[in-house]
C-alpha cells in the first residue's frame, strides 16, 4: 500500500517536476537538493528502505505508530484527491470528443454548400456575360445621349446668355457677366458662321460692348478708387480690350490724380510739410499706381508686359519730372537759414521715400534724380551759407564802423579797438561754427543720403571746405582789401582805425584762426575725397598779404593826414617875410598830437616791436649839435663853379653812409614799424614842400625851431631815431639852401623856444 502511495506521490512529483521543468522554475534546484534527501517522503530520490530503516532505528514504537497513522491519513487524502482529478479530466475529454465529432459533421455540410455556390457562380458569370453583350449597344447610346445632354445644356447657356448677361449687368455683377462671356466667347467665335449662333454672338457682343462702355466710363470716372479701377481693368482685359489702350487709359486716369496732387503741392507750409505732402500724396499714389499697374499689365513676361513697362516708365518719368521740378522750386524758396535740420530732414524724407518707386520702376531713375536734387539742394545750401556768412561779416563790419564813428566817451577810448577786434573775431568765429554745425547735419549718420559718394567725398572737401570755409576766408580778405582799393583816391570814407582793425584781424587769421577753422572743418568733415584742396599755408599767406596791404594803407592814410597838415602849413605861409620865431608853430603841435593819437590807437592792437637801442637823451643832443654844425658847414661853404662835385660833398658823403630810405614801403606788424612809416611819410613831405619854397632868414629859423620840436617828440615813436634825425636834418638843410639870408638860430635859443612850447 505504502509503495503505491509513494509511487503515486513520486509520479505526482515527477509530473510536477516536469511541469516545473517546463516552466523553468528556478526553485527546482533547491527542491531537487531537498528532494535528493533519500529520507524525504516527498523527495525525488526517496528510498523507502532507507526511510524505513531510519524510522525504525530512530523512532520509538509510539512514534512509529504515529507515523504510520499519519502516513495512512496522508495516503487516504491523496487517494481521494487523485480520484477527483481523474474525474474531472475525464469529463473534459468527453466534451472535447463531442465537439470534434460535431465539427466533423459541420464541415461535411459546408463542403456541400460550397459546391453549390461554385456552380451557382458559374451560372451567374455566364448570365452576366450574356447580359453585358446584350447591353453593349445601348450603353454607347446612353453615353452619346449624355454628351448631347451637356451640349444641350451648353447651348441652353448660350441661348440664355444674352438674357443672363443683361440680368447680370442689371444686377451690377459685372464680374459674373464677364466670366460668363469669356466662357462663351470662344464657342461663339467658333460657330459664328451659323446664323443662330451668330445672332447670339452679336447680341452678346452688343451687350458686352455696352458693358465695356460702362466699365470704361467707370474707368474714366476720376472719382473711382484704385481698387475699382483695377477691377475694371481686369474685366476689360478679360473682354479682350487692347492692352496698350488700357495702359494708356489707366495711366491717363492716374495722371489726373497725380497731377491734382502736384497742383495741391503748390501751396504748402514749411518744407517738411511740403515734402511730407509730396511723399504722402504724390509718391505713395505713384507707387500704388505703379504697383497696381504692374500687377495688371505685366504679370507674365512678354511683349505686352515690356510695352506696358515702357509706358509706365515714360509716364512716371514725365510726372516725376513735374514733381521734381516742384520740389526743386520749393527748395529754392527755402532761403531762411535758421534751422537747417528741417531742410535736412525734409531732404532725407524726400530721398527715402523715393526708394520705393525706384525699386518698383527701376527704369525711371527716381533714385538718381532724387539724389541729384538732394545734392543740388545741399550745394545751394552751401552757397546760401557762404552768402550769409559774407553778409554777416559785412554786418559786423558795419557795426564796427558805427562803433568807430560813434562819439566816444573819453574814458572808454582806450579799450575800444581791442574790444571791437575781439568782438568781431569772436562773433565771426561763432558764426562759422554755427554754420559748420548746420551743414554738418547733411552728413549725419541717420540721414540716408549721407552715405552717398557725394556726401562722403566731394561735399566735405569741395563743398564745405573749399566752397564754404575757404571761400569765406578768401572773401574776408577780399572785403578787407576792398577797403584799401576803393578809397585809394581822395574822399576816402574808410576810417583808418577800421583799416588797422582789419589788418590785425587778418594777421590773427594768419597766425591762428585759419588753421583752427580748417582743422575744425577737417575734423568734422572727414572727406574720403582726395581731390586737391587749398592748403592752409596759401590761405595764411593770403591773409598775411591782406593784413600787410591794409596796414600799408593805414600807414599811407595816416601819413597822408599828417602830410596834408605839413604841406598846407608850408605852402600857405610867406616864408620870406615871416617874423622872428617865438614859438613852435601850432601845426607842429598838432602833428605831434596826431601821431601820439595814432600811437595810442596802434598800441591797442599791435605789439611794441623792436627798436634800435639808443639812449634817448644822448640822441637828442646829438641831433641838435650835429645839425647845427652841419648847417654851419653847409651854407658857410663857398660855391666855386669850377669845382662841380665839391659843393654837396658833405651831404653826399653823409648820404653814402646812410641807407636809402623807402618812404612808402611795407611796414612790419608792430607799433614801432607802423609809426616809423607814418613819420617817414610825413617828414618826407615836409622836406619836399620846403624845397619848393624860398625862405627868408626868419623863415629858416622857424623851420629850425619846428624841426627841433619834432625831433624832441618824434624820436620815441620810431625804431631808429637816426631816421627822424636824417630826415629832419635834410629838411633844415634844404631850408637853408632855399634861404636868401641864411643866418641860423642859436641852438640854445631853439631849445628854449621848444621847451617853452
Amino acid at each position: 500500500m505504502a509503495t503505491v502511495e509513494e509511487e503515486e506521490s513520486a509520479k505526482k512529483k515527477k509530473s510536477h517536476g516536469i511541469l516545473k521543468l517546463y516552466y523553468g522554475m528556478t526553485e527546482e534546484g533547491k527542491a531537487a537538493e531537498r528532494h535528493l534527501e533519500p529520507t524525504d517522503v516527498d523527495g525525488v530520490h526517496f528510498n523507502p528502505e532507507l526511510y524505513l530503516t531510519k524510522l525504525r532505528k530512530e523512532s520509538s514504537l509510539s512514534q512509529l505508530m504515529d507515523v504510520e497513522a499519519d502516513m495512512v491519513r496522508q495516503i487516504r487524502s491523496l487517494d481521494s484527491e487523485m480520484q477527483t482529478l481523474v474525474y474531472e479530466n475525464y469529463n473534459k475529454f468527453i466534451s472535447a470528443t463531442d465537439t470534434i465529432r460535431k465539427m466533423k459533421n459541420d464541415f461535411k455540410k459546408m463542403e456541400d454548400e460550397m459546391d453549390g455556390l461554385a456552380s451557382n457562380m458559374a451560372v451567374i458569370t455566364e448570365f452576366s456575360a450574356r447580359i453585358s453583350s446584350t447591353l453593349q449597344v445601348s450603353h454607347q447610346q446612353i453615353t452619346k445621349l449624355s454628351g448631347v445632354h451637356t451640349l444641350l445644356r451648353k447651348l441652353q447657356f448660350l441661348f440664355e446668355l444674352p438674357a443672363r448677361l443683361k440680368k447680370c449687368i442689371e444686377l451690377g455683377a459685372y464680374g459674373q457677366a464677364v466670366s460668363y462671356h469669356s466662357k462663351a466667347r470662344s464657342v461663339l467665335h467658333q460657330y459664328q458662321h451659323m446664323p443662330s449662333f451668330h445672332g447670339i454672338q452679336t447680341d452678346c457682343q452688343a451687350i458686352m460692348a455696352g458693358l465695356a462702355d460702362t466699365l470704361r466710363q467707370r474707368f474714366r470716372d476720376p472719382a473711382s478708387s484704385p481698387q475699382e479701377l483695377s477691377e475694371c481693368v481686369e474685366m476689360l482685359l478679360n473682354l479682350e480690350e487692347p492692352a496698350h489702350l488700357l495702359c494708356d487709359e489707366f495711366l491717363a486716369h492716374g495722371r489726373g490724380r497725380l497731377a491734382s496732387h502736384l497742383s495741391d503741392l503748390q501751396e504748402s507750409g514749411d518744407i517738411l510739410e511740403f515734402v511730407d505732402r509730396g511723399c504722402g500724396g504724390f509718391i505713395s499714389d505713384a507707387c500704388l499706381l505703379a504697383a497696381s499697374y504692374q500687377s495688371l499689365f505685366s504679370k507674365e513676361p512678354g511683349n505686352s508686359a515690356q510695352m506696358a513697362e515702357a509706358k509706365l516708365t515714360v509716364f512716371l518719368e514725365e510726372l516725376s519730372t513735374g514733381y521734381f521740378e516742384l520740389v526743386e522750386k520749393r527748395l529754392h524758396q527755402e532761403k531762411s537759414l535758421g534751422d537747417n535740420s528741417l531742410l535736412v530732414r525734409a531732404l532725407d524724407r524726400f530721398h527715402r521715400r523715393l526708394q520705393a518707386p525706384s525699386k518698383l520702376v527701376p527704369g525711371c531713375g527716381f533714385n538718381r534724380r532724387g539724389t541729384e536734387i538732394v545734392v543740388r539742394a545741399a550745394q545751394e545750401r552751401l552757397a546760401q551759407y557762404l552768402q550769409s556768412l559774407k553778409e554777416f561779416f559785412q554786418g559786423c563790419l558795419t557795426d564796427v564802423r558805427q562803433a568807430l564813428a560813434a562819439p566816444r566817451l573819453p574814458g572808454k577810448e582806450t579799450s575800444g579797438l581791442g574790444d571791437l577786434l575781439a568782438g568781431l573775431s569772436a562773433s565771426v568765429l561763432n558764426q562759422i561754427k554755427t554754420v559748420l554745425a548746420a551743414v554738418h547735419l547733411f552728413t549725419a549718420k541717420d540721414v540716408a543720403f549721407s552715405n552717398k559718394a557725394y556726401f562722403k567725398g566731394e561735399f566735405c572737401s569741395q563743398g564745405v571746405r573749399e566752397g564754404l570755409i575757404v571761400a569765406f576766408i578768401t572773401s574776408v580778405c577780399q572785403t578787407a582789401r576792398q577797403f584799401c582799393e576803393i578809397p585809394g583816391e581822395k574822399g576816402t570814407s574808410t576810417p583808418p582805425s577800421l583799416l588797422l582793425l582789419l589788418s590785425r584781424l587778418c594777421l590773427d587769421y594768419e597766425t591762428s584762426t585759419i588753421s583752427y577753422i580748417l582743422t575744425l572743418t577737417d575734423e568734422q568733415f572727414l572727406g574720403q575725397d582726395r581731390s586737391p584742396v587749398t592748403p592752409v599755408s596759401s590761405l595764411c599767406s593770403l591773409a598775411r598779404s591782406t593784413a600787410q596791404t591794409l596796414l600799408n594803407q593805414f600807414v599811407k592814410y595816416q601819413g597822408l593826414v599828417v602830410s596834408q597838415m605839413l604841406r598846407k602849413s608850408v605852402e600857405t605861409r610867406d616864408w620870406v617875410t615871416t617874423i622872428e620865431p617865438r614859438n613852435v608853430r601850432a601845426v607842429m603841435k598838432r602833428v605831434v598830437e596826431d601821431i601820439t593819437g595814432v600811437d595810442v590807437q596802434v598800441g591797442l592792437l599791435y605789439e611794441e616791436g623792436a627798436r634800435k637801442a639808443h639812449s634817448s637823451d644822448s640822441s637828442k643832443r646829438t641831433f641838435s649839435v650835429y645839425s647845427s654844425s652841419r648847417l654851419q658847414g653847409r651854407y658857410a661853404q663857398s660855391y666855386t663853379p669850377s669845382a662841380p662835385m665839391d659843393t654837396n660833398l658833405l651831404s653826399n658823403i653823409q648820404k653814402l653812409f646812410s641807407e636809402r630810405i623807402d618812404i612808402f614801403s611795407s611796414v612790419q606788424f608792430n607799433k614801432v614799424s607802423i609809426l616809423t612809416g607814418i613819420i617817414k611819410i610825413s617828414l618826407k613831405t615836409f622836406l619836399e614842400c620846403v624845397r619848393l619854397r624860398t625862405f627868408g632868414r626868419y623863415g629858416l629859423q622857424q623851420i629850425q625851431v619846428d624841426c627841433h620840436y619834432l625831433q624832441l617828440y618824434l624820436w620815441r615813436f620810431v625804431s631808429d631815431e637816426n631816421l627822424v634825425h636824417c630826415l629832419l636834418d635834410e629838411v633844415v638843410g634844404s631850408a637853408a639852401h632855399r634861404c636868401l639870408d641864411p643866418a641860423p638860430m642859436e641852438q640854445s635859443v631853439i631849445e628854449v623856444i621848444c621847451e617853452r612850447g
Binding site: K490, G491, T577, T640, P641, M645, T647, R660, G696, L740
Partner: protein
C-alpha cells in the same frame, strides 16, 4: 659799345629843370637849369658823345634867377624858354622868358670844360612873357612840331598862349583862359598835345587833369581826382592821339584814354614816393620813363597800351625813323607790360627825366643835388623792339 653803364655828371648847384634840345636831332644834347638863390644860375648845355661815352658841357649864365622849368624850342635849337624865380624886395615872383644861346656856342663848338667857369657866357634875352597881371608862372611849353612861334604858359589859374613875333623878340598874348572854381586854383603843369594839329593842351591842377581846345580856349574834358593827391606831370603819347600819362604825389603813374575819363587805362605803382616826371619815348611809346622823389628812375615797358601792342602792327601810326620789320613782328605773341629797369644812381629826389631827341634809346635824369645821369635802354630790349 661795350657798356650800358650810366654816365654821371655833377652840377655844382641844385637843379630841377631838364630838357632835351628838341630841335637837335643829330647830337645828344640836354639842357639843365640850376637853382641857386645866392649865385648866378646857369644853364648847362650837355653834349653826350655816344661813341666815346664822354660828356661835354657848356655853361651859360642865366642871371635872371633860379630856374624852375626849361623848354627848348622845337624849331630853333638855340632858342629856349625858362621859368625862373625873381626876387625883388623880399618878394618872390616866378616869371618866364625866351632866350637865345649866344652865337659862339652855336653849332656845337664846345669849349674845353676848364674854361667854362671863367668864360661863361650869358644867355641872350629874346623876350619876356609878361605875366605880372596873371601871377606866378608855373610852366612854359612850346608848341610841339611847330615853327617855334607859339608858347603855352601857365600862371596861377590862367592858361596863356603866346605868339612870338619879330624873330622872337616880341611876345604877344594871343589868347587866354581862366580856371574858375572854388578856392585858390593853381596850375601845376601843362602839356601841349602833338595831335589834332596841336590844338589841344592838357593841364594839371591839384588832383585834376583838364584838356583844353586852344582855338576856343574852352575846356574839353576834365579828369577829376585823376590822382589821389597832387598831379605833378603829364605827357602825351606821341603815337596814340588820345593817350595821356600822368603822375603825382600818390606814387602812381596813370595812363588815360581821354575819351573815357572815368578810369585810367592802366596804373603803375612802382615808386615809393611822389612821382615828379613822366615821359613817353618819342619813337617807341611803350617805353615810359618816370622819376620820383624816392631817388629812383624807372623805365617801364607798357606794350599793352602802346601803339605797337603786338610789335609793329600799327604801321601807319609808326613814326619811328628806325628800320622796322613788321612782317616778323606780327607772328609774335602779345607782349607783357613790365618794368624794364629801376635806376638807382641818384641819391636825392629826381625831379626831371627826359628822353634824348636824337637817340631814342638814351635818356637823362636829374636829381635835386645836381646829379645828371645818362642811361640807355638795355640792349636786349632794344633789339627786341627793333627786330
Amino acid at each position: 659799345m661795350e657798356d650800358d653803364a650810366p654816365v654821371i655828371y655833377g652840377l655844382e648847384f641844385q637843379a630841377r629843370a631838364l630838357t632835351a634840345q628838341t630841335a637837335e636831332t643829330d647830337a645828344i644834347r640836354f639842357l639843365v637849369g640850376t637853382q641857386s638863390l645866392r649865385y648866378d644860375n646857369q644853364i648847362h648845355v650837355i653834349d653826350f658823345d655816344d661813341e666815346n661815352n664822354i660828356i661835354n658841357k657848356n655853361v651859360l649864365l642865366h642871371h635872371a634867377g633860379e630856374i624852375w622849368q626849361i623848354g627848348a624850342s622845337p624849331a630853333d635849337r638855340n632858342v629856349l624858354a625858362t621859368c625862373y624865380n625873381k626876387i625883388s624886395d623880399s618878394k618872390v615872383m616866378t616869371c618866364a622868358a625866351v632866350w637865345r644861346i649866344p652865337k659862339e656856342l652855336q653849332g656845337g663848338n664846345h669849349e674845353s670844360p676848364d674854361d667854362t667857369s671863367s668864360n661863361a657866357q650869358s644867355l641872350e634875352l629874346l623876350c619876356h612873357l609878361d605875366s605880372t597881371a596873371h601871377g606866378n608862372m608855373a610852366c612854359v611849353t612850346w608848341e610841339p612840331l611847330g615853327d617855334g612861334k607859339k608858347l603855352l604858359s601857365l600862371a596861377d589859374n590862367y592858361l596863356l598862349i603866346w605868339d612870338l613875333q619879330e624873330s622872337s623878340t616880341k611876345s604877344v598874348l594871343s589868347s587866354s583862359a581862366t580856371l574858375e572854381g572854388k578856392g585858390q586854383l593853381r596850375f601845376t603843369s601843362g602839356k601841349w598835345s602833338p595831335h589834332h594839329n596841336c590844338t589841344q593842351v592838357a593841364t594839371a591842377n591839384d588832383t585834376a587833369i583838364r584838356g583844353w581846345d586852344i582855338r576856343s580856349m574852352r575846356q574839353i574834358y576834365c579828369i577829376e581826382n585823376a590822382h589821389g593827391q597832387l598831379v605833378r606831370d603829364l605827357d602825351f603819347n606821341p603815337n596814340k592821339q588820345y593817350y595821356l600819362a600822368s603822375c603825382g604825389d600818390d606814387c602812381k603813374v596813370k595812363f588815360w584814354d581821354t575819351r573815357n575819363i572815368h578810369e585810367p587805362v592802366k596804373t603803375l605803382e612802382e615808386h615809393s614816393h611822389w612821382v615828379w616826371s613822366v615821359r613817353y619815348n618819342h619813337s617807341h611809346d611803350q617805353l615810359v620813363l618816370t622819376g620820383s622823389s624816392d631817388s629812383r628812375v624807372i623805365l617801364s615797358n607798357m606794350v599793352s597800351i602802346s601803339s605797337e601792342p603786338f610789335g609793329h602792327l600799327v604801321d601807319d601810326e609808326d613814326l619811328s625813323d628806325q628800320e622796322d620789320n613788321p612782317q616778323e613782328e606780327k607772328t609774335k605773341e602779345p607782349l607783357q607790360d613790365s618794368i624794364i629797369g629801376t635806376y638807382e644812381e641818384h641819391e636825392d629826389s629826381v625831379y626831371a627825366v627826359e628822353w634824348s631827341s636824337a637817340d631814342p634809346w638814351l635818356f637823362a635824369s636829374l636829381s635835386y643835388d645836381g646829379r645828371l645821369v645818362i642811361n640807355r635802354v638795355p640792349r636786349a630790349l632794344k633789339y627786341n623792339i627793333l627786330l
